[in-house]
Amino acid sequence: MNKTYYGKLIFELSTPGCIGYSLPENKWCKHKLTDLPEHLLRAEDTILPEVDELSVVRHYTNMSNNNFGVDTGFYPLGSCTMKYNPKINEEMAALPGFVALHPHQPVATSQGALALYYNVQKSLSEIAGLHEFTLNPFAGAHGELTGLMVIRRYHEKRGDVKRTKIIVPDSAHGTNPASAAVCGLQIVEVKSTPDGTVDVEDLKPLLGDDIAGMMMTNPNTLGIFEKKIPEIARLVHECGGLMYYDGANLNPMLGVCRPGDMGFDVMHINLHKTFSTPHGGGGPGSGPVGVRKGLEEYLPNPQVKLKQDGTYALEYNPESLGAVSAFLGNYGVVIRAYAYLLTLGKENVPLAGKLSVLNANYIKECLKGYYKLPIDGLCKHEFVFDGLREEYGGDHHDAGHVTTLDVAKRLLDYGFHAPTIYFPLLFHEAMMIEPTETESKKTLDEFIEVMKKIAIEARDQREMLKTAPHDTPVRRLDDVKAVKEPKFTYKTL
């Protein structure tokens, strides 16, 4: 990353008369746009810039130099599974045999693409311990919504229309209740016990004939395995509800413990977390949804099926919940995940999860003398610190104490991305660290040393942390101004 700030916008590079494209001569000049009735045509000129090709290339290259990615450095962003994004995946996704395919092509001419989709469906089913998958949802949140639609469709088909409530733990990511609300379900929150897991006693009185299901992630958002999951699943099933597994935290479970075997009926997987596809600065992701046997009919259309003659078909099933995408979702992301699955194979898939857990526990053990660890014991792929320990400037009673935000910003100076901060909401100073399995001990040791150094700085040089970062392309930004004097386009600058 280049620490010199670039900061220009493409509109500022525009010079009238410059062009950055080349197109063939128009051979169909007989018909002109101006033949259209004037009132159907655009009157206003556009703001689009006029820039030559090299200037465009330099512009975006300079911008990229002010960006931090997994390829730049360690990215311990909790709950996001920022593992290495293999380059062979990118090359496979760019093969012309996929890139040039039009989604309206007859299936006879896209058998390879459908076979790949089908193979990924089957691989995910095996890894999840579920019967069937759809890869159509575009992202994790979209998968959640789709999975909840499956649950509603299941109750609807049984004629059980009064099940309009869904149970969500209070530690859940905000997306869970939001997806439920969009799906027309009311949210019932279940409390956590002091050890951070679902309080089964609090759950019991919530269960009734109005419960559509329960959403959980296991390990939960604190990185702790919900040991009571068999009992929870049994209770929810006994009351007639279905169990939904939020696959955000699937990585540590790979090949060790499968959601289907834990008693979950429906789940989504984030291919951009567990299966190594790039996050792209916030999309495109992919949120495949899996279901246990008996629910597969309800998966969204179109469905990819293997026919008896060995060919693949796209089917529109009338039992389905409907469609959540125009075509087969973010197909290009699915190709990347397939390359990753093949590379790892059955031997390495289970190892990925285990190493991610080892890495997380290693950091936790090395730093718990400096940062408050609210819940001790083995974590899975991630864990949460509740800010600095009191002796390192983290004393809440001290009005000027060093906060999690300060630590996060100081990390940027040292060339690391910050952990996820202020989530989960259970702790005031939450700092959620997820190293993933692709980081070496050497990298972890460097990170640990920096985190210790920051703790000592917090004790001895508080002001320096309060004003961090110091060594980044730009420094702390004025969030309040961004909201109070809103500027969302170049025109309003």
């Binding site: 700030y5 494209y21 197109l23 128009n26 018909h31 746009l33 009132h39 045509l41 206003e44 556009t46 689009l48 006029e50 465009v56 002010n66 931090f68 390829d71 990215y75 990118e90 996929f98 890139v99 040039a100 039009h102 007859p106 390879g112 693409a113 076979a115 919504l145 209740p177 969009v182 799906c183 949210i187 040991k227 060790v256 792209g280 600065g281 916030g282 495109p284 409907g322 995408s325 075509f327 290009g332 190709i335 093949l342 590379t343 059955k346 289970p350 190493l355 080892l358 290693y362 053990e365 991305h417 910050a418 692709t438 070496s440 001990k441 392309p473 930004l477 004025d478 386009t489 170049y490």
Partner: protein, 472 residues
């Protein structure tokens, strides 16, 4: 399971740990030495012991039924083979997806992994690259649609339209009915219908007349004064440019919002949603430099007026300054977002298609005002040429006589459409799309990628195919 020194231990039938030492894996950087040291620090004896709290009956003790690990050479072979089993065709099809040209600079810039391997730009100090291109994207889309603001994108055009529907309902507070024109692309319609069903929106279809929205029927439905919003498409499924004169005024008189879904490339030349007086502009922006890639990833856009900013879902990037007074960019207005609204959320969208904003921004940066116009001019000329010449072939007839169109049009075909398409497929063409819900209509599209020679060959093949399919 047994207890040793108060700690649970368990014996596993086979140890991946041992396997690892035998055969290192390129994505796992741990040496055998590292593992020993780390396990010691953590205080466990093996990788398996890291899972000792998990009830034994939940542990998966078998081998996964997956292929064995492959080398890069083997991965390349397997996936390369699948890619070859697809047959890329010369496209005269559109129906929502257009094979406009992607300049080589676009994928080149997109290959910068500082962009692709980053997360949502939460740490603005080290994410100015992402924030800047999203800000550029927002500027370009707001300008093209003629609206005040654009969000940082949606998954695709269909979900963007569904979000526009939910936005209408959220803005109206006490109204729950949304009208949608039947001239929408059925692939989009299906998604909107699904969202409406589960979100509890009363979605009412407005019929079509001569291939365009039946405005009289639409006006009649507005009279009930219970409509939250109206969704119309431009150009519509049949390629026809609809005339929305007076529609916005009519909607607003009845306190309904107007949302216009426009194919993004067309925004460069057709009257913009803002110019029509729309409150929301939404649609698919695949046509701005994104390859067809079997349906995705694409990008949906959603733009609106300043008045509706707090009802708009998705991320927003705003300009601000840092402590040194430098102009910079940051994710803002986050209080609208799902993770804060939780059960009050009217959208569950978290991120977007962030990376695809870079495709659109760099494409539009290269094409500029003139290039986008030229793309439309060539597509327009090609589509009109193709229509004229197809009408000269036996079996083809006008479906919507006199309706204006841009790059796409619909014709009636009296022969067997499937047989004709099958024949053309063998000749290397996608011959338009069979119009859903119409037994005898085909939709054709032309982009600047088609050469005069390709069109000649296509027309020859069609003429032959028509004979074949009539003979069948």
């Amino acid at each position: 399971m047994k207890t040793e020194n108060g700690k649970l231990t368990r014996r596993f039938p086979f140890s991946h740990f041992r396997f690892h030492i035998v055969k290192p894996m390129k994505y796992f950087p741990h040496t055998a030495n590292d593992l020993q040291e780390m396990l010691k620090v953590v205080g466990v004896g093996s990788l398996e012991e890291l899972y000792s709290e998990i009830p034994e009956e939940l542990i998966f003790n078998k081998e996964l039924n997956l292929p064995s690990a492959m080398s890069e050479i083997e991965v390349r072979r397997v996936i390369g083979q699948l890619a070859q089993e697809n047959k890329p065709l010369v496209s005269f099809a559109g129906a929502g997806v257009y094979d406009h040209y992607t300049p080589s600079v676009v994928p080149y810039i997109a290959s910068r992994s500082e962009f692709s391997t980053s997360y949502t730009p939460y740490q603005a100090e080290i994410s100015q690259g992402t924030l800047q291109y999203i800000f550029e994207y927002q500027t370009m889309m707001a300008d093209l649609t003629g609206m005040d603001i654009s969000n940082a994108s949606m998954y695709d055009g269909s979900t963007a339209t569904a979000e526009a529907m939910m936005m209408c309902v959220a803005a109206a507070k006490k109204r729950n009915k949304v009208l949608i024109s039947e001239t929408f692309n059925p692939a989009v319609m299906r998604v909107v219908e699904t969202y409406a069903k589960y979100h509890g929106v009363d979605l009412v279809k407005v019929g079509a007349k001569d291939g365009v929205t039946d405005m009289q029927a639409l006006h009649a439905l507005l009279e009930g004064d219970d409509v939250a919003g109206v969704l119309v498409a431009q150009p519509n499924y049949y390629g026809i440019i609809e005339d929305f004169s007076g529609l916005a005024e009519k909607c607003h008189a009845h306190k309904a919002l107007l949302a216009i879904n426009t194919m993004a490339s067309a925004l460069g030349v057709l009257k913009s949603p803002g110019e029509w007086g729309a409150d929301i502009a939404c649609g698919e922006a695949q046509s701005l430099g994104i390859p067809t890639c079997y349906g995705g990833p694409y990008i949906g856009y959603l733009c609106t007026t300043n008045a509706l900013i707090r009802k708009m879902p998705g991320r927003l990037v705003g300009a601000t300054t840092d402590v040194d007074g430098k102009r910079c960019f940051v994710l803002t207005m986050q209080a609208r977002e799902q993770h804060i609204r939780r059960e009050k959320a009217t959208s569950n969208i978290c991120t977007a298609q962030g990376f695809m904003c870079l495709y659109v921004a760099s494409y539009l940066a290269l094409m500029g005002k003139k290039g986008l116009h030229e793309v439309n001019e060539i597509s327009y000329g090609g589509a009109h040429e193709l229509k004229e010449r197809l009408l000269g072939i036996e079996g083809f007839a006008e479906a919507y006589l006199g309706q204006p169109f841009l790059n796409e049009f619909t014709l009636r075909y009296s022969g067997n459409i499937d047989a004709l398409q099958g024949y053309l497929c063998q000749k290397g063409f996608i011959a338009g799309v069979k119009a859903e819900g119409k037994a005898d209509e085909m939709i054709f599209a032309v982009t600047e990628q088609r050469s005069a020679e390709e069109m000649d060959r296509f027309l020859c093949a069609i003429a032959e195919g028509v004979k074949e399919s009539i003979n069948q």
